[in-house]
Amino acid sequence: MVEVTLSAPLGMISLRGDHGDAALREAVTAVTGTAFPERLRIEGTSERGAAWMSPDELLIFVPRDEAVAAVARLSEALAGVHHLVADVSDMRVCLRLDGPGAREVLAKLSPADLHPEAFGPGTFRRSRLGQLAAGFWLEGEGARVICFRSLADYALALLRQSGRDGAVGYY
């Protein structure tokens, strides 16, 4: 129903800065080629895109081998703008939830509203999955979850067990 696997390594960049700053918005969209992600949004995908992490923090996705160059590009574009950019490709893992049951698997674990009205394509939630801090969104034929790398084994086991426990029949 839901297959849970560890995604291939992603290029991930953490960017803190003023989301209202035109230079920052431009620097981000120049790297991602997508719109700038507003509150609770992800634009693009885990291959190339940007997710809203907090009112002054983004997580930018680029192909793994472009991460170092993208950080340099952002730093250059933001010279003189107060910001913090860091390559965090190794800090988190990304898990794939493939299958139609992905939404219910997440709803077993997260207190966030996952009704299709509230959690559709392009919605990005930073929330909890059981005892884990995690971010998740819909992508492909399912969902993606990011969490700290140290918790990868636990996250895999948790999501797989929740999948094995079967459909709830709610969504």
Binding site: D90, M91, E104, H115, E117, G130, F148, S150, L151, V168
Partner: protein, 994 residues
């Protein structure tokens, strides 16, 4: 005898017989039976013994309010105590055991409590009987109470079942799928909002399907079926059976427990966030208090009707009815229609006159108006009743033979969900019931009404009013329009007569046999005694008598109990009030609350990139926060102490490797970052040159040391702060707290990048040799002096190499992107092989730092220690205008020279001091305890020095070098230790500068 009738039973499927056992007896039932209906069908009236007196007890109810029908269900590790037979669906092969009896249900030795000890177990017996003599408590009373405390047996072994949670966000949650809940869901559903309807039973419709009123011109069953179909067709409505709403909490948070049947989890805990709740959870019939009302065969009138209509079970051939209202006549009529005998209807009212009463009269049933039951005859089973005048003292007028008694004292709306978040109640004099007070609703965050009551849980008992109430509640909850009322037809009813004791002038002898709380054995006499002894508050009387404190939480007993209390206190019922309604509605098993978090998922374990290697190389673990760090690496046959000693010596004499990845790493960047760090740390960080490292201390506002670590300057406006392993998240939150709440205009960003890097400490005289073999970065003393760092390629690795030391040896901490961590570690193991490179764990790390006199957050600090206590005044700036903790550290108590200060200790006999032990002072305090003048903060065996070493906080410690102090030891003479400098190894620091 109770038995199965040849016809009837709308819930059972007679083509699907099931077998089960009760106390080892094989019995048969049908699919659709509950365990209770199947027991009755097999003539098993008696199902348990009461808690205190071990009186024989039979089923009283047919739902969650059942106080007596509790069984041990299942066998072995799946055995579960206190399962309610009335709501347990019968399954093939089910194994049930009765509770609270020894050796068997029929022959019970505990019954002695009733006959002999009964007089000694009155209300408050815990507080009275067992007070004296004192020595009896331990040897007589406590063992006795322990033996009698609690029902059922503890399950054996671990619970093998799985459980799960599910979160749902809705606009309207409707609790209860009777006709009130269905109509509420219908009205709410029309609004298009998200509606969730939950029903605890395995079927919709509630009591309407038993009593069969006419709804919308059709039988109730047909209306229910149509309405459920209409709801299922609404895309915004979700319906679920077998799911009981357990509790309502603030802000519209609700939990509900779903019973599952299948290969997956056994139960699912629904965690629901809703804007509005409709409470349509019905009402519960009240027992009447007459002598012998607990004899098996005495049952609620509605329950008796349920067993007949739902499961085709007759409770007895001759059923006497005793009532103060019209509803019980439905039972009389149902019993009569089933071809059984109703010898008498004892009606407390002088002139019963409703439509049902007329029907009973027309059928020729004998009605005794203005009468009560003086007492029930029989012990293990009803054999008859004695009639008396209700107004009198219980003189028997006539004995009537019967084998069952159906009682009804009126109905109590289930207001639990209304009241969980504070909904108030009002006393409805006419209907003799507490019902939700619309003037005192539970409110949510914005002041709007959180719970809307509907149907009989609102206090409406007639079908038409129930439906109207449901439609109104649904519309109100959804903020929509009220739908047109559905026409309904049921019998006109006459008024109820409140009756709390039967007969009204009953003497104490009768009151001692009138049960209020069947499960906890609380009688009318107990409540009256409590009142006489001064318990005026219903909450106090409840705890004193234990009324309503059993697993049924007083669903049957509360109103009767407080009515008796109010009479005894000569107060009106509303003046006495009810006890507090608290979730859950019925007990939840702990497994449900834990959900998926069991066994390997019990708690997350954080693993570094090198965790697997440690695991494969004999690591024994130390939990640090959620991390597991290697404590020591055991070689085959090696004991932990030996491993630690070996690791310590390897670092001192050769080279060791420590996985330091768990250390917190927080980047702080921005034009105001230096200024910010000068506030965060006690020493100056803004002056740190780029490329250099500085050890820093962090204090709370109150001056206490909260974390320490090495800060490095990455660039003109960027620093990297290392924190302790356990401190990473806390310190990051601390920084953000100050930045967001206090200094929001400072231009500083932080990022907790702890997990981005793996970090390895390479420590020991051979450390540079090992790293040199990897090639790349110049790590010579000239290129990389102590307390500096460099970034670049180290062999194939993208490294940042810090020249810092927590061991006192030549030491490098190498940070690489976490995905390179394992490869780096393995490369170092390989490169160091010729020098016997040794992985070492946290315990060796502790010993090494203690030999050097380095403090450890959490060992030398405990939240009451300031840097000055630890001789770290050198790291507290005197120049800075301000930093967090500065002002606090200037306060008199902090600056007091009499504080306990850090010293080293060496035992005279070279032994290892006990952890946390106190250093004894002179004399004794006023309590006759020895005075203390210090305590041990760290203590280890030092393999380097071949003796026990310790660090301690000692009164004026540094002034007392060379003195001998006495350290307390549990169960032995104090140990003598000499006060020494805490730096016991390489005081000049030649080794780490090497």
């Amino acid at each position: 005898m109770s038995t199965r009738l040849s016809r009837g039973g709308r819930l059972i499927d007679r083509s699907r017989p099931l077998t089960f056992t009760f106390d080892g007896h094989p019995y048969r039932g049908f699919a659709g039976d509950t365990l209770a209906s199947a027991l009755l069908a097999n003539g098993q009236m008696m199902v348990g013994r009461s808690f205190k007196y071990h009186r024989p007890r039979g089923l009283v109810a047919s739902g969650h309010e059942e106080p007596n029908g509790l069984v041990n269900l299942g066998a072995g590790e799946r055995m579960e105590p206190n399962q309610r037979a009335t709501v347990t669906p019968l399954k093939d092969g089910m194994v049930a055991l009765s509770q609270n009896r020894f050796p068997s249900l029929d022959l019970d030795l505990g019954v002695v409590n009733d006959t002999l000890l009964g007089r000694f177990l009155p209300a408050g017996f815990y507080y009275k009987t067992f007070m004296w003599p004192r020595s009896f408590w331990k040897h007589v009373y406590e063992p006795f109470i322990r033996k009698s405390a609690g029902l059922g047996r503890v399950p054996e072994g671990r619970d093998p079942d799985r459980y799960e949670h599910f979160h749902a966000h809705v606009d309207v949650l409707v609790a209860g799928g009777g006709i009130a809940g269905l109509s509420a869901a219908l009205a709410a559903g029309r609004s298009g909002q998200r509606v969730l309807l939950l029903e605890q039973a395995p079927h919709w419709g509630g009591r309407a399907l038993v009593d069969e009123p006419e709804i919308d011109g059709t039988p109730a069953a047909y209306w229910v079926e149509r309405t459920v179909a209409a709801l299922e067709a609404m895309p915004n409505v979700r319906l679920r059976l077998n799911t009981q709403v357990s509790g309502v909490y603030d802000h519209g948070y609700v939990i509900a427990c779903e019973q599952l049947d299948g290969a997956g989890p056994r139960q699912r805990l629904w965690r629901i966030r809703t804007k509005r709740i409709v409470s349509a959870i019905g009402a519960i019939e009240r027992p009447l208090a007459f002598a012998g009302n607990d004899v098996p065969g005495v049952m609620l009138a509605s329950a008796m009707r349920d067993y007949l209509v739902n499961w085709g079970v007759s409770v007895g051939d001759r059923v006497a009815i005793v009532t103060n209202n019209d509803d019980a006549y439905r039972t009389a009529l149902a019993v009569h229609r089933a071809g059984l005998i109703v010898p008498v209807i004892v009606d407390a009212r002088p002139n019963p006159s409703g439509e049902l009463v007329r029907q009973a009269r027309e059928l020729g049933l004998r009605i005794e108006a203005g009468r009560g039951i003086a007492k029930v005859k029989g012990r293990g089973r009803v054999t008859g009743v004695s009639l008396c005048a209700l107004a009198g003292e219980g003189a028997a007028i006539e004995d009537i033979g019967c084998d069952a008694v159906a009682m009804s004292g009126g109905w109590t709306p289930s207001v639990h969900l209304w009241s969980h978040c504070g909904g108030g109640l009002r006393w409805d004099e006419g209907q003799a019931m507490f019902r939700p007070d619309p003037a005192k609703p539970p409110r949510t965050h914005d002041g709007s009404v959180l719970v809307v009551p509907a149907g009989s849980s609102e206090g409406e008992l007639r079908t038409g009013a129930v439906l109207e109430s449901g439609l109104r509640a649904g519309a109100m909850a959804a903020g929509g329009e009220v739908l047109a009322t559905v026409a309904a037809r049921d019998a006109e009813e006459g008024p109820i007569l409140p009756v709390w004791i039967m007969p009204q002038g009953a003497p104490t002898a009768l009151k001692r046999k009138m049960w209020l709380d069947f499960q906890n054995d609380v009688k009318v006499s107990d409540v009256e005694l409590a009142a006489r002894e001064g318990f005026q508050s219903v909450e106090h009387a409840k705890r004193y008598t234990t009324l309503g404190m059993a697993t049924d939480q007083g669903k049957l007993s509360n109103v009767n109990g407080l009515a008796v209390l109010s009479q005894s206190l000569h107060k009106a019922i509303p003046q006495v009030g009810t006890t507090t309604f608290r979730p859950p509605y019925t007990p939840l098993t702990l497994g449900t609350i834990a959900g998926v978090a069991k066994e390997e998922l019990f708690q997350p374990i954080r693993k570094t990139a090198i965790h697997g290697w440690h695991e494969r190389h004999g690591a024994t673990w130390e939990p640090v926060g959620l991390w597991r760090r290697p404590f020591a690496y055991l070689r085959p046959g090696e004991h932990v102490e030996n491993a630690v000693n070996r690791e310590v010596l390897a670092v001192r004499n050769g080279v060791g490797l420590l996985d330091a990845s768990t250390l917190g790493k927080i980047v702080v960047k921005g034009p105001d970052a230096g200024r910010f760090l000068d506030m965060m740390y006690t020493n100056v960080m803004s002056t740190l040159p780029v490329g250099k490292c500085r050890y820093g201390l962090m204090c709370s506002e109150n001056g206490f040391l909260m974390d320490d670590g090495v800060v490095i300057r990455l660039g003109e406006d960027a620093w990297l702060c290392h924190t302790t392993t356990g401190g990473a998240d806390r310190i990051h939150a601390h920084m953000e707290d100050w930045l967001q709440c206090e200094w929001h205009d400072w231009k500083v960003y932080t990022a907790n990048l702890t997990e981005e890097w793996a970090q390895v400490a390479v420590a020991g005289p051979r450390a540079r040799d090992v790293l040199a073999k990897l090639g790349g970065l110049d790590l010579s003393p000239e290129a990389l002096p102590f307390m500096t760092f460099r970034e670049g390629k180290l062999g194939p690795f993208d490294a940042r190499v810090h020249r810092i030391s927590f061991s006192g040896e030549l030491s490098f901490e190498v940070a690489v992107p976490a995905n390179q961590g394992l490869a780096l570690w393995e490369a170092l193991v390989q490169a160091g092989a010729e020098w016997g490179v040794t992985p070492y764990g946290t315990e060796a790390m502790h010993v090494l730092r203690a030999e050097k006199g380095y403090i450890m957050i959490g060992e030398e600090t405990d939240g009451t220690v300031i840097p000055q206590d630890l001789n770290l005044g050198w790291a507290v700036s005197k120049k800075k205008a301000d930093f967090l903790g500065k002002r606090a550290q200037e306060r008199v108590h902090m600056a007091n020279p009499g504080r306990w200060l850090l010293v080293g200790l060496e035992t005279l006999d070279r032994s290892v001091l006990p952890e946390g032990a106190y250093i004894l002072g002179r004399g004794e305090n006023t309590n006759g305890q020895k005075n203390t003048e210090g305590r041990i903060t760290s203590t280890y065996f030092s393999a380097t020095l071949d003796r026990g070493i310790a660090m301690a906080l000692l009164d004026r410690g540094p002034e007392r070098m060379g003195q001998v102090v006495r350290v307390a030891r549990k169960g032995g003479e104090p140990v003598e230790a000499r006060v020494v400098d805490p730096v016991l190894y390489d005081k000049a620091g030649e080794r780490l500068n090497g």
